[in-house]
């Protein structure tokens, strides 16, 4: 019960952040060049002989059916040649490095390559009833809002978009049943399934049936680290390990070399991913993790013992990864501990799943002031962003539809919808709109969502870059102004 609820709230918060970070200004240019690349891949084969990296990708794509063998070797060489040669080859030649998926392993290759005409139905499994629904229903609203916008403005020629979002109550044992019934009902693709265990539960089925499982609304690194094994699955959020690394880097700048850090993480896969990634990054940055404490996912009571143990070591900073309502409880307990240890005033970093206004301000009172976190989307609630064209479009559609949910969470759904439609558009440009072309489009696309912070982009590149968003803007919560303040510029160091 509890666990799911919190996890959902967490996801909602993250989702908003992620979506925000995706947009960029020059998406049109990169979008079209990429599209050009994809269609002219075959023709470009001969001309890419000069740029070693590119050749390798094309030969790989054509000769290897599964493309597994020399992945890693290719990636490293590609990395350097791509960035320099990529843009130029793309402009002059047909795309040679476009990743393709092999449909021979599908249970029904014909269905995977069959053209989709008239109506395209997007399915999803989200918590729509029960306690998590309140936190997550704005995601569904935002998603469907964007689909309506796309239909009204005919963004996809000759295709009407439909959505079929069914309830799995955030229960990973129900998600397979929901997804099965959606497949039986004939949905074409899935997008925005919420929950790491939920997505894991259906990943095998969807990859076997070769149905795109796009934009999973979770930050698990699983969605991008095995492109060859699960080509049909992609994620929407910045992975937790990248977030942890970005925090470690920023923290180094704040407390200096040799600074001490205390870790407070939830005892789940979510927390463990953070813990491991942060410890690794901290070691690289010259920071010392001096104490680690955990809290159980279902624990409601304030973490008195844990914070007491951390306070005993008096670290210079704390990296906190609690779940849902544990976020404000942690902050309050920390303030109590600081009062009992008056010579201790650590810098506090919190996971961005705790960054919703509800968790960092409403339920936490003043204790959230000064806490560092991150985001990658423009805050639609901030009056300073009222003139942002993306925000304007969202707010107009939101008010026209008479929606009442949390605007920031609706923005998450809106951006997932936008990402999905951009993918479909690119797939259309390849000539045939089919499940195969859709997943290939998803993995060969660069564009900037309308609500992204400057410097944030959706960028995927076959096996080389399996993550859609990898840039985060570190920000600090300022209670008096009720706003987040950006710290520095967006950190793109983890972009691949």
């Amino acid at each position: 019960m509890n666990r799911k609820r919190y996890h959902l709230a967490a996801l909602a918060a993250v989702g908003t952040l992620v979506i925000v970070s995706c947009g960029s200004d020059d998406d049109k240019s990169s979008g079209t060049t990429n599209a050009a690349s994809a269609t002219t891949a075959a023709a470009a084969e001969t001309t890419t002989a000069e740029t070693g990296g590119s050749t390798e990708t094309t030969t790989e794509a054509t000769t290897e059916s599964t493309g597994e063998t020399t992945e890693s070797a290719v990636e490293t060489t590609e990395g350097t040649t791509e960035s320099t040669a990529g843009e130029t080859t793309v402009a002059t030649e047909a795309p040679s490095e476009a990743w393709t998926v092999d449909t021979d392993a599908c249970s029904d290759p014909e269905a995977a390559e069959a053209p989709i005409e008239g109506t395209l139905t997007i399915g999803s499994a989200q918590p729509l009833s029960g306690t998590p629904a309140v936190a997550f229903s704005p995601v569904k609203d935002g998603f469907e809002l964007y689909l309506k916008y796309a239909n009204d403005n005919n963004l996809l020629e000759g295709i009407t978009l439909k959505s079929d979002i069914k309830d799995d109550q955030y229960d990973a044992t129900q998600t397979p049943g929901v997804v099965d019934s959606l497949i039986d009902d004939g949905v074409n693709i899935f997008s925005g399934i919420i929950g790491t265990p939920n997505n894991l539960a259906v990943r095998d089925t969807l990859n076997q049936e070769c149905i795109p499982q796009l934009l999973n609304l979770t930050g698990s690194p699983d969605w991008g680290n095995d492109v060859a094994g699960y080509p049909w699955t992609t994620g929407a959020l910045v992975p937790y390990d990248i977030e942890a690394r970005i925090y470690a880097t920023t923290l180094k700048g704040l407390i200096g070399d040799g600074g001490t850090v205390g870790m407070f993480t939830v005892n789940s896969e979510f927390g463990k991913t953070y813990l491991d990634a942060f410890k690794e990054a901290a070691a690289d940055a010259g920071l010392k993790v001096v104490v680690e404490q955990t809290i159980e996912p279902a624990e409601e009571a304030p973490p008195t013992n844990q914070i007491g143990a951390i306070a005993a070591e008096k670290p210079d900073a704390i990296m906190a990864v609690p779940l849902g309502a544990q976020c404000p409880t942690f902050l309050k307990e920390l303030v109590n501990a600081k009062a009992a240890n008056t010579d201790w005033n650590p810098v506090v970093f919190q996971t961005n799943t705790c960054a919703s206004r509800l968790l960092i301000s409403l339920l936490a009172g003043d204790t959230g002031n000064g806490v560092y976190t991150s985001t990658n989307l423009v805050d639609p609630v901030d009056p300073a962003n009222a003139d942002n064209p993306g925000v304007k479009t969202l707010v107009d559609a939101y008010t026209a539809a008479g929606l009442k949910g949390d605007l920031a969470t609706t923005a998450v759904g809106w951006t997932v919808g936008e990402d999905t439609v951009m993918i479909l558009k690119k797939a259309q440009e390849s000539g045939t709109l089919s499940r195969k072309s859709i997943i290939e489009a998803a993995r060969n696309l660069t564009f900037t969502p309308s609500l992204a912070l400057p410097g944030v982009q959706y960028k995927m590149n076959g096996e080389e870059d399996g993550y859609s968003f990898q840039t985060l803007q570190v920000e600090q919560w300022d209670q008096p102004s009720n706003l987040f303040k950006n710290i520095g510029t967006p950190d793109s160091s983890s972009e691949s």
Binding site: G177, T196, P197, L200, R203
Partner: protein, 383 residues
């Protein structure tokens, strides 16, 4: 005066005819479903079957033996994790893992049955609740230490070759669903037959005697220890079979797959159908599953509910109210209710042990009086 219900002799041809007709109808329906239903419908029925299997196991322990357990999800979880781990990490045959899972659950059931001997009603309930509460911790530790991952993979049960169902290709999804459906039904039928035979035998009478009055049963010669612990073991094994099917159905499991809430579901399904009846747990499980499914699907769309109410937990509220209402409307469950109605039409009269007397002469045995020297001695005076 209501018309007398017609009495049908047990094991008479008419009784057999009614029984075979019932079984045949169910078999025909099951086959019909297997040939026409979509994979998701078959999946739903498979899930309802796993609930039914666990309820049948719980019924043996609670309905017939009077030992309450709110911890049966632990046995399902144990068997499921055994199957998932042995098949994925040790490459075992999934059917071997079923056998091993059953044995492990039986042993754990025995182990729990021993302290249960000393605990009465609510104490036993709370102890089993505690066991169910502890299982996720154990499962999480296991995942952390042995599996080194956050989820355990399912057994990915594939159709056996002799069934003719395809493993790969266009129909693989449907065929796998059909195979799991039949596997669940077969296990359900076997569990039902086991419980039925136990119930109808001498052992069954001992079980019920222990439930109704333990001390009296002991006085009459029932070995309490053996009866209670072995019943716990068998009940646990049946619940374990339910867990094995779940491991075959799901692609991933973690520590939240089997929780106290699952245990409560088994109990509610048992109660809804009718505890202490043979068919009750099965009927109750299907009823619970499909009502829950219906409510989940349709409650969010009910427009007559005011605004924020429709987003809230309507389905679970209605289910709770339904359960309470059932206690008053049908305290012996659906099967109890139906039996009550059917009794107005006809009654199964139990077979007499031997033909009874039909005339007065037969009722009074006539014998030759005993010879003088064999009559009992009359001592003293009788007044």
């Amino acid at each position: 005066m209501p018309t007398q219900a017609r009495a049908i002799r047990e094991s008479s041809p008419l009784h057999w005819a009614i029984r075979t007709a019932g079984v045949a109808a169910i078999a025909v329906f099951a086959i019909y479903l297997a040939s026409t239903a979509k994979p998701s419908t078959l999946g739903n029925i498979t899930e309802a079957c796993t609930l039914a299997i666990a309820a049948v196991g719980l019924n043996l322990l609670f309905g017939f033996n009077g030992q309450i357990s709110i911890g049966h999800s632990t046995f399902a979880g144990l068997a499921a994790f055994t199957a998932g781990y042995t098949v994925n990490s040790w490459e075992w045959n999934p059917y071997v893992s079923l056998a091993v899972g059953l044995i492990l659950c039986f042993l754990l059931g025995l182990a729990l049955g021993l302290p249960a001997l000393r605990l009465k009603g609510p104490y036993l309930a709370l102890v089993t609740l505690a066991v169910a509460f502890v299982w996720p911790t154990v499962a999480a530790k296991f995942l952390d230490q042995k599996v080194k991952a956050s989820t355990l993979k399912g057994t990915k049960l594939e159709p056996l070759t002799w069934t003719g169902l395809s493993v790969k290709g266009k129909d693989a999804r449907l065929d796998k669903a059909i195979f799991l459906y039949w596997a669940a039904i077969v296990i359900l039928v076997i569990s039902y037959v086991i419980v039925r035979n136990l119930r109808k035998s001498r052992i069954g009478r001992a079980l019920v005697a222990v439930r109704d009055n333990e001390t009296a049963a002991a006085v009459m010669g029932v070995n309490l220890k053996l009866t209670k612990t072995v019943t716990f073991g068998i009940s646990a094994a049946i619940a374990g079979a339910s867990g094995w099917i779940t491991a075959a159905r799901l692609a991933t499991m973690d520590e939240t797959t089997f929780t106290i809430l699952s245990s409560i579901k088994y109990l509610l399904a048992l109660f809804l159908g009718g505890a202490a009846t043979l068919v009750g747990p099965i009927v109750g499980a299907f009823a619970y599953f499909f009502v829950d499914d219906y409510l989940k699907e349709h409650a969010p769309n009910w427009d007559w509910l005011p605004g924020p109410l429709s987003k809230g937990p309507v389905a679970s509220f209605l289910l709770g109210v339904l359960v309470i209402a059932f206690v008053f409307v049908a305290p012996f469950g659906i099967v109890g209710f139906v039996k009550g109605q059917v009794r107005k039409v006809f009654v199964i009269a139990p077979r007499p042990l031997r033909p009874g007397p039909t005339t007065a002469e037969q009722a009074m045995p006539t014998e030759e009086p005993r010879p003088e020297d064999q009559r009992p001695e009359i001592r003293g005076e009788y007044t």
